[in-house]
């Protein structure tokens, strides 16, 4: 990785960040203008030991760091239970399972402006602080689609071949079972015969909240027509906001992205629909800001 480093914070001062990475202990000088995020913009010195951090270098391969995100997490999926005004159980799809989202009073207004229907059956996509067993939601990552989960509009019909390159929105997801520094993306249209839909079809049904849980594999192709690919396929993804491009492999199933027919407005208004769900490392590598949640992207199949 040229720009991104992931690890656990061992020590931090106004000028130096010490991380435990897969290469062992590493020290990174901080610029005077270095920014840190831990539930909001803070001084790097205010970061805590033990926090999981994603760090962006100022120059490719250089030692100096200018952005740090600590304990950042994201939950994207369908609300299947609501307990009280502040606690939600969210289904992230067959591959990722279910997560608990807590919305504190300080974030309620901000989130409800963009997600007015915090009710079972509706979609949610929030960014916040990871805690043991739950995500403390702080920032809405998009605007809530006006339809219930699984009822997204049909994509326009395509004649001839699928357009290449494809424009749309690129988002990020938490590593889950993947390595933290994995550069790749979850692709929304994996071959249903050889990839994740095959596994999902045979997966046993879960318990409570199932009447609201939506299997994204059964709800149609979403609002973007993407060619079927497989895990391992290579894609060239361009961040239209930073004009940074990387060749990335498909590393997992991103069918949940099909449920969202939204647009990214990080730099101008993107086309409708999510075309890639990047790993955190890949998102930062392409110049994305994790707290923003998306960037306008152009994707070329096969690189």
């Amino acid at each position: 990785m040229l720009y991104t480093v992931t690890g656990r914070i061992l020590d931090v001062s106004p000028h130096i960040l010490v991380l435990h990475t897969d290469r062992g202990e590493q020290r990174f000088p901080l610029t005077a203008a270095a920014q840190a995020w831990r539930g909001g913009s803070i001084s790097p010195a205010a970061l805590r030991q033990g926090d999981h951090a994603v760090v962006r270098r100022k120059l490719p391969g250089g030692p100096v760091v200018d952005r740090i995100w600590a304990q950042v997490g994201r939950v994207t999926g369908t609300i299947i239970e609501r307990a009280g005004p502040a606690s939600l159980l969210v289904d992230e799809g067959p591959a990722k399972g279910r997560r608990i989202v807590m919305i504190g009073p300080e974030a309620t207004g901000r989130i409800q402006v963009r997600f007015p229907r915090l009710a079972p059956g509706y979609l949610i996509d929030v960014i916040g602080l990871k805690h043991d067993g739950f995500l403390q939601a702080l920032i809405p990552a998009t605007s809530q689609p006006p339809y219930r989960a699984g009822h997204q509009p049909a994509p326009p019909m395509v004649s001839g071949h699928v357009p290449d390159p494809v424009n749309g929105t690129a988002v990020w997801h938490e590593p889950g079972e993947e390595p933290e520094d994995l550069l790749g993306l979850a692709y929304p249209a994996l071959d249903p015969e050889t990839s994740c839909e095959r596994g999902a079809a045979s997966a046993p049904a879960a318990g409570s909240g199932d009447q609201h849980a939506v299997d994204p594999h059964t709800t149609g192709p979403g609002c973007v027509r993407l060619p079927y690919l497989s895990v391992g396929s290579l894609l060239r993804l361009r961040n239209d906001c930073t004009e940074r491009t990387r060749l990335l492999p498909v590393t997992s199933c991103g069918a949940t992205a099909r449920l969202f027919c939204d647009r990214c407005v990080t730099c101008g208004t993107s086309r409708k629909g999510r075309i890639a769900d990047l790993t955190m490392a890949a998102f930062v590598e392409l110049g994305g800001a994790l707290e923003v949640g998306c960037f306008n992207a152009t994707m070329t199949i096969g690189g």
Binding site: Y147, R148, A154, V158, S159, H161, T194, G232
Partner: protein
């Protein structure tokens, strides 16, 4: 001429109403959206005037509209003959007046949809009616309302008495169908669907079909003796092609035999390459993959 014009309206109106029912049923069967009636955008885009109701009321409104159309369509046919004809005029008059009233209400409702939900389709013919409501759609309902009014007081339908009269009927019918087609945004959608062929990148083809095509191909017969496993070691898809890798042994060297099968239902193109399993050196490419559309 005027009588002929009036007489063709009854079958025409019945076909329009029953066709609308059939299209709505088809949509309901295809997606659970309508059954759920939960107000998704995809539904509201095509449910037309029912989108003016609250989420809770949309499903009942849709059901009422469906039942009304079905009843009027069947009623028009049932009362077209002697049952509702001159002798007992009341049932025919009620059904025809009801049809006129239905289309009159439709004109008002569509105008309201156009003002309040300019992105919504009329939903008249299910998913074919996703085009936002325009003046053409409203004019079509107005035309059908006028047609229904013209049928009130009409004597029982009869077969044409002469070839000349039959020709006149057909000419009138053709003219009116052309007029309705001109006023119907659904026509463009139908033509697109009739000529639509799904791109190969989006085609869903069962794996068993791909494997059957591979095992029936000349490339498979050529390399079958070198294949060392019954099932592929890896299978993946890139757009229009599905790839299968079999381990093999060629003159004592461990190789991977890679087959590429084009995703089409009948007689797909199949290509093969033999690659050294240790060095990834291509030993025997057969054909080229440059023409592969991915």
């Amino acid at each position: 001429m005027l009588i002929a014009l009036r007489e063709v309206q009854i079958p025409l109106l019945a076909v329009m109403l029953l066709g609308a029912c059939a299209a709505k049923s088809w949509r309901a069967l295809r997606s659970r959206s309508v059954a759920a009636g939960l107000g998704s955008r995809s539904v509201s885009a095509s449910m037309g005037p029912t989108g003016l109701f609250s989420l809770r009321m949309r499903r009942p409104a849709m059901v009422v509209m469906f039942v009304t159309e079905l009843s009027l369509g069947l009623g028009l046919i049932g009362t077209a003959g002697r049952i509702g004809g001159a002798a007992t005029n009341l049932p025919a008059t009620v059904v025809r007046a009801g049809t006129a009233l239905f289309f009159l209400v439709a004109v008002g409702a569509l105008n309201e949809v156009r003002q309040r939900r300019p992105d919504s389709g009329c939903g008249c013919f299910g998913e074919l009616s996703d085009t936002p409501v325009g003046l053409r759609t409203i004019a079509r309902s107005g035309l059908l309302c006028a047609s229904a009014v013209a049928t009130i007081g009409l004597p029982p339908l009869r077969m044409p008495s002469s070839p000349a009269e039959a020709e006149l009927w057909l000419a009138v019918l053709a003219f009116e169908l052309a007029l309705i087609a001109f006023l119907s945004p659904e026509l463009g959608e139908i033509l697109v669907r009739l000529g639509y062929s799904e791109p190969c990148e989006l085609r869903r083809l069962p794996l068993s079909r791909t494997m059957s095509a591979l095992h029936a191909s000349a490339q498979w017969r050529k390399y079958e003796s070198q294949v060392a496993a019954a099932t592929p070691a890896d299978l993946w898809r890139e757009g229009c092609w599905r790839f299968a890798v079999y381990p093999g042994i060629v003159r004592g060297r461990r190789v991977d035999i890679v087959f590429a099968i084009y995703l089409q239902a009948r007689r797909p193109a199949v290509r093969a390459a033999v690659i050294d399993a240790d060095t990834d050196e291509v030993l025997a490419p057969v054909g080229t993959l440059e023409s592969a559309v991915i």
